[in-house]
């Protein structure tokens, strides 16, 4: 029975670049565009960074500097668990009196899961609990920085060339053919004017790297080109005969966690700072309003802005399904829940023949033709026993029961296809929506402050297999 409550049995259609069908619980509602949005048609943005183990929020500038890593927490290089700092007492000589020894605290890192400690890789114990642990530097950093400087100089030259050419072309401001002649005249001995100008074979220039062109002076730019070696070190002789100590050899995953070093031996695996996680905010692509914005505080699960569809759109759920028989009319009980506080009027409309959105239905459905009225959601309704029940004249053929903001109603289903697979029906649900976000205009002649607009959604229900 609980399977009827599974969210993916009732799908709402989202109109976007692609038509997406997904349960209402995964959708968002942009109340400025008055449309449903799914995760694929919103743009995701990084909102805030935090460390998963110490739950400390990190401002994005600091995160950028620290390369998105927490300053205090470390990961075990063997099993990627979080390391904990342990303290021992070691005897150390007093600074005043070398002959006497006193107990000092020394800290080391240890993994509670795989029993790795920082002493295994030869890291000395530190005297401060945090902040003493350094990650090793990449030995090639200097060379790479020099290379970047060198290429930046070349890039500047290329940019100057391009700008100069653009200016030269723009100056006469003549049709293109004539300006080619002008370029030729201007750069008389320019080696490859034709070569350097973008041609239809332009994509090929994307294959060209940066280099000093002929005739350019080499004065300011110099870089020591890398030297190639004649010989490479061979494998050590004992490699062929020595038995491997497998725990000493790192696995691929352990190696790739440290891209700069990728050590083959476990005694060179240094711990890395823990990587941060982010909180994401969502934004509607059309109107650029935020649909979801989480709280700044990492420990808080609330949202500053939370425009989820279940709090605006009435939700259809399946309550009970009789045995479905081929070509026989069955009555299915559905519930409709009103998420807002005003009374909502809902009309159900069956899909017409040839409806482009109706691609999955395998059965005919007869929905109630009358308008259904849903009471507003009243938070205190559960506790207020003395409240008089609101009086809605309900047709007992259509409405099965009514409970605060929820009603149960019947639809008639006639399965059309006798085949394996679920019976799927679809219909459109039309309801009124009061947009509380719209600016309240100064009311003239006592207008109602918010007008209702009618929204239509296409709903698909998956009712289960036919039981013969």
């Amino acid at each position: 029975m609980a399977s009827l409550l599974q969210p993916d049995r009732v799908l709402y259609l989202v109109h976007g670049e692609k038509k997406i069908r997904s349960p209402l619980s995964t959708l968002y509602f942009c109340r400025y565009c008055s449309e449903l949005r799914s995760l694929e048609c919103v743009s995701h943005e990084v909102d805030s960074h935090y460390c998963p183990s110490c739950l400390e929020n990190m401002p994005s500038a600091e995160a950028k500097l620290k390369k998105n890593r927490c300053a205090n927490c470390f990961d075990c290089p063997c099993c990627m668990h979080t390391l904990s700092t342990r303290a021992t007492n070691i005897p150390a000589p007093l600074p005043d009196d070398p002959s006497k020894t006193t107990m000092k605290k020394a800290y080391y890192l240890a993994c509670g899961f795989c029993r790795w400690t920082s002493r295994d890789v030869g890291m000395a114990d530190k005297s401060v609990a945090s902040g003493g642990w350094q990650e090793p530097d990449n030995p090639h950093t200097q060379r790479i920085n020099k290379l970047i400087e060198y290429y930046q100089q070349l890039a500047q030259r290329e940019k100057l060339e391009r700008d100069r050419k653009k200016l030269a072309r723009r100056r006469p401001y003549m049709p293109l053919a004539f300006s080619q002649h002008t370029i030729h005249v201007v750069e008389k001995y320019g080696l490859g004017t034709r070569l350097q100008r973008q041609r239809p074979g332009a994509p090929i220039t994307s294959l060209a790297g940066l280099s000093l062109k002929e005739g350019e002076d080499q004065k300011e730019i110099n870089i020591e080109p890398a030297q190639a070696l004649d010989e490479v070190e061979p494998l050590p002789e004992d490699c062929y005969t020595r038995p491997i100590n497998l725990p000493e050899v790192t696995s691929l995953r352990q190696r790739l966690l440290q891209p700069d070093f990728q050590p083959a031996g476990a005694s060179q695996l240094h711990p890395k700072h823990k990587h941060l996680l982010i909180k994401r905010s969502l934004r509607c692509r059309k109107c650029e309003h935020n649909l979801s914005k989480p709280e700044f505080n990492p420990t808080s699960i609330k949202f500053k802005i939370q425009l989820v569809a279940v709090s605006y759109i009435p939700e259809v759920r399946i309550m009970s399904i009789p045995n479905l028989r081929f070509q026989k009319e069955c009555q299915v009980l559905l519930t409709l829940t009103n998420p807002v506080e005003n009374i909502t009027h809902v009309t159900l409309v069956g899909c017409e023949e040839g409806d482009p959105e109706d691609i999955n239905s395998t059965a005919k459905v007869m929905v109630p033709t009358k308008e259904l009225v849903l009471a507003g959601k009243d938070a205190a309704a559960d506790y207020d026993e003395l409240a008089e029940p609101q009086d809605f004249q309900d047709d007992p053929d259509v409405v099965a029961f009514r409970k605060s903001n929820k009603i149960g109603f019947f639809i008639k289903v006639v399965p059309q296809r006798e085949e394996d697979g679920d019976v799927t029906v679809s219909f459109k649900i039309r309801h009124d929506f009061r947009n509380l976000a719209a600016p309240i205009r100064p009311s003239e002649e006592g207008d109602a402050p918010t007008e209702a607009i009618w929204l239509t959604h296409h709903v698909e229900l998956s009712l289960g297999p036919i039981i013969a």
Partner: protein, 419 residues
């Protein structure tokens, strides 16, 4: 802690550099010395135990689009932790990448993530950039294949490309075959079981096994390797195999131990150097490419060999490769064709699997020209396609601005880096 430090010159944010390999993806930021993360190019769908490879060329566009979208989403929001909309993207690719894959990848970046611009950088060219030289013969030993492309004066010599499907994938297949044939698994309850009974039960086992060649196997030097090959094919009839290295007990998980026989450890990698019927091996690719290059370029290329790619990190690979090349160049096929006999190897300032990434990161740090060399979102929206080196019909970026209709901006370049 000055806030401007991280912003880069001119206020533009550092570009994102991604190297999408068939087995592993290297991702990080431009201007850094190494990638931030090296992760397997796979996505995990909820409910399925088997992970799906992202780089597949034969699946239909819809599926590829959704796989790539999920993967790139994970890259940005799990690993790089930045907004896709703010930063330019540099993608390191192989020049043999099918256009269909490239176009789908571009569509994901522009339509789904709305990045400002994308630059496809050839991996071999980027490897040269990481060294500061202008010419070199670059060999990329990757997962699906080994691809050789010479680069002379910063221009790739496209007709001289050579490739063989000998890479990590072939090694895994060979090793699996040998393990299933010859090795046994011990567990708590039984001994001497054969391997297939476990592989089919647990895909996790496959992942553990994929580390196996890296940890236990190696490549012997030339003399030993030739003897092993002789013994395998038993050409002389009397060939004797050199003493194999000792066996290894490889734990598959908490209970099961796989006993790997010694001979497997040094012979599985020989397939990279065994010459097949066309006498092609990983070493002969280098010489074949040299032969295809113009004569004047050959000396510069042969003295500047650059080897990149994950498979090149196997112990003993480089030494054996040089020795094989020197052996092959004496053969009659190459002796007359190639006058140059000196071969030199570069050692780039990064591990071989990150060298192409590093080149891309260096290029991505050049903010002056990164904008003009990239394909911008506007260009993509107007033309709907990304220029490819093999397709000459793409309009050049500047002609998209029609001189007659809208006056082109005077001082600004066509794709300015200003927002």
């Amino acid at each position: 802690m000055p806030l401007f430090e991280g912003l880069g010159s001119g206020g533009e944010k550092t570009a994102v550099v991604i190297d999408l390999g068939a087995a592993y993806t290297k991702c990080g930021f431009a201007g850094e010395t190494g990638p931030r993360f090296i992760i397997p190019s796979e996505i995990q769908k909820p409910g399925q135990q088997q992970s799906i490879k992202v780089v597949q060329y034969n699946i239909n566009t819809e599926e590829l689009y959704s796989n790539l979208k999920e993967f790139i989403h994970m890259l940005y929001f799990r690993h790089l932790l930045v907004n896709p909309r703010d930063r330019r993207v540099v993608i390191i690719e192989s020049i043999l990448c099918p256009s269909h894959f490239r176009e789908t990848l571009t569509k994901v970046f522009f339509k789904q993530f709305e990045v400002p611009s994308v630059l496809f950088a050839p991996s071999h060219l980027m490897a040269i950039m990481s060294l500061g030289i202008n010419s070199g013969l670059v060999m990329d030993c990757g997962y699906t294949e080994t691809l050789v492309l010479p680069v002379y004066e910063c221009i790739p010599i496209l007709p001289a490309w050579e490739a063989l499907p000998l890479g990590g994938k072939a090694i895994h297949k060979e090793l699996d075959g040998l393990l299933v044939e010859q090795c046994t698994v011990d567990s708590d309850s039984s001994t001497g079981q054969s391997l297939p009974t476990y592989i089919h039960i647990d895909p996790l086992m496959l992942f553990v096994l994929s580390c196996c060649p890296v940890r236990t196997c190696f490549i012997s030097d030339l003399q030993r390797g030739l003897k092993i090959q002789e013994a395998k094919f038993n050409l002389g009839g009397t060939a004797e195999r050199p003493t194999p290295p000792p066996d290894v007990d490889y734990p598959l998980d908490g209970e099961k131990i796989l006993h790997i026989k010694g001979p497997i450890r040094d012979s599985v990698m020989e397939m990279l150097f065994e010459q097949d019927n066309e006498e092609k091996s990983v070493a002969s690719l280098v010489l074949d490419a040299l032969v295809k290059c113009p004569i004047d370029t050959r000396k510069a290329l042969s003295e500047n060999l650059v080897i990149i790619g994950g498979t090149a990190m196997l112990p003993g690979f480089l030494h054996r490769l040089l020795a094989e090349i020197r052996l092959l160049v004496e053969k009659p096929k190459y002796r007359d064709a190639l006058a140059t006999k000196s071969f030199r190897l570069h050692s780039p300032p990064a591990k071989p699997n990150c060298t192409a990434w590093l080149g891309g990161a260096i290029f991505g740090a050049l903010q002056d020209i990164l904008g003009s060399r990239s394909v911008s979102r506007d260009y993509y929206n107007q033309t709907g396609r990304i220029p490819d080196w093999c397709c000459l019909s793409s309009p050049p970026p500047e002609s998209v601005y029609d001189a007659g209709k809208t006056p082109p901006p005077l001082m600004k370049r066509a794709f300015s880096t200003e927002k």
